[in-house]
């Protein structure tokens, strides 16, 4: 356990080295919320059921929280990829820490860094949308932590599976754009489902949007703060499955691949 804490501390120290980068990222997230969402408030149709009860700004605030969480939790992959390319992982392997502790430490650090980064965005969401009850608050934190750990796992698995930084950045771009845009972050899930029923959006894409952990994370916060969509256990189930799958695959991939290289 102590070894895992050391690894988490190491990754947090690295995280704070990017403080200006983080400031830039948070200002981009806030620009999305305070400019784009404010203009879309005036543009969205009152006929959209999910948006007729609230403003687009309120709808989007949980979405931007999840975007922030995703971007910051994914940063761990960039560092792992850099370590592998510069052979720093040889130093990591030489430490008196088991491979499993090393992998779990990296994974948890990525998740916790995501949580830390997203906390001001989550607070902003609470300030505008209202504070949840204590059990709901714990539910949101728990779900976001699971989500962040899964994202961290996805990022580490991508980082150790790609041989160059360019390939990692391209893979990251693909994952980012597919998961961001094919989700309910920017628009209600019902719109994607309607396009699917009309045959415009392929059914696998509709299914991806429904199972997308980012959709489930944003909708879970909305269900507690806005009351719409209705909270279902499927939201938790999808996040838990995503987190377990990617945390496990990242742990295995990290332990195996860094030993081979």
């Amino acid at each position: 356990m102590k070894a895992i804490l050391h690894i988490i501390e190491y990754d947090f120290r690295n995280f704070f080295r990017y403080k200006w980068w983080l400031a830039g990222l948070i200002s981009m997230n806030l620009a999305d919320l305070l400019i784009m969402a404010v203009v879309y408030n005036r543009m969205v149709s009152p006929e959209i059921a999910e948006l007729s009860l609230t403003s687009y700004f309120n709808f989007f605030a949980p979405g931007v929280t999840v975007i922030g969480l995703f971007a910051s939790a994914f940063m761990i992959g960039r560092e792992v990829n850099m370590e592998v390319r510069r052979q720093i992982h040889h130093y990591m392997l030489s430490l008196p820490i088991t491979r499993l502790e090393l992998a779990v430490g990296r994974l948890l650090a990525g998740g916790l860094r995501g949580m830390m980064y997203t906390s001001p965005l989550l607070l902003t969401t609470f300030i505008f949308l209202g504070f949840p009850s204590f059990p709901q608050f714990l539910g949101i934190l728990g779900a976001l932590f699971l989500l962040a750990t899964g994202i961290s796992g996805l990022s580490i698995a991508t980082a150790v599976s790609t041989t160059s930084f360019e390939k990692f950045v391209t893979a990251r771009g693909l994952v980012y754009y597919v998961l961001f845009f094919c989700s309910s972050i920017f628009y209600p899930l019902s719109l994607i489902q309607t396009l699917g029923q009309e045959g415009i959006m392929p059914q696998p894409i509709v299914m991806l949007a429904e199972l997308n952990p980012l959709s489930n994370g944003a909708d879970l916060i909305r269900s507690f703060l806005l009351g719409n969509p209705t909270f279902t256990l499927n939201m938790i189930r999808n996040i838990v499955v995503f987190s377990i799958v990617f945390a496990t695959s990242a742990t295995v991939a990290y332990m195996k691949i860094i030993e081979i290289r």
Partner: protein, 246 residues
């Protein structure tokens, strides 16, 4: 040099596809009926201008790359004046961004359609001034900052603000409704001039910001181009001498 960035090109292509196939398509179902019938085409035109902007900005990153690898010394040893060098960089940055965005513009034209080819040619030609101006702006900021990290962060923030405070994603009428301050910035934003001009060129004339079109947008882009080219030339020229870029 730009063709070395093949992964960047792939990433931009993925970004364009995601913006159009997901955001453009779904958001067009979300907006008010008065906008819904043209929003998909409106948004695609905006995405083209966003891509042109971000591709033109990339020249600034090359400046740091060159400083790091000692290419500056080589460039200074060439039989060209400092002014020619800077103008060449600015224009080269603009042209190569058109090489990247060219296929995207072609796809956009297939989707949107073309009402008046002459209007499109006029808009397309004037967009070069936009690309040169953005490249000039990027060079100016790069040489003024002298730190690739600071440049990267500033360009990220600037990109977020300059795109969102423009009409790339939404018409000026809605920006005006949302906030007078946002509308004022958006009205004088070069990205708004470029977006309006491109939309005018492809025949999406509802919700244009400026009148008379295309003259107002062209004047705005000419002023933008000359301002940043002149400022860029002056600052770059000063920094080049005596190892000022290091």
């Amino acid at each position: 040099m730009f063709l070395q960035y093949k992964f960047l090109i792939i990433m931009r292509a993925i970004w364009f596809a995601a913006q159009v196939a997901f955001f453009g398509l779904i958001a067009s179902r979300m907006v008010v009926p008065s906008l819904a019938d043209i929003y998909f085409e409106y948004y695609i035109a905006g995405v083209v201008v966003m891509m042109l902007y971000s591709a033109s900005v990339f020249i600034g990153y090359d400046i740091f790359e060159e400083a790091e690898h000692g290419v500056f010394e080589y460039l200074l040893s060439l039989p060209v004046s400092r002014k020619e060098l800077v103008l060449g960089r600015s224009i080269g940055g603009g042209i190569r961004s058109f090489i990247l965005v060219g296929p995207i513009i072609a796809i956009a034209l297939v989707v949107i359609g073309l009402v008046n080819p002459l209007n499109f040619l006029l808009a397309f030609s004037t967009l070069f001034l936009f690309a040169f101006g953005v490249s000039g702006m990027s060079i100016t900021i790069a040489v003024a900052l002298k730190s690739s990290d600071r440049f990267d962060i500033l360009m990220g923030v600037l990109n977020a603000l300059i795109i969102r405070l423009s009409t790339t994603m939404y018409p000026q009428a809605f920006v005006q409704d949302a906030s007078l301050a946002y509308a004022t910035i958006s009205k004088f934003n070069p990205v708004t001039f470029a977006s309006d001009l491109f939309r005018w060129g492809v025949g999406i004339e509802r919700y244009l910001t400026m009148t008379p079109m295309p003259l107002a947008a062209i004047i705005g882009l000419v002023i933008f181009f000359f301002t940043f080219t002149l400022v860029g030339v002056t600052i770059y020229e000063k920094r080049l001498e005596g190892g000022g870029w290091q």
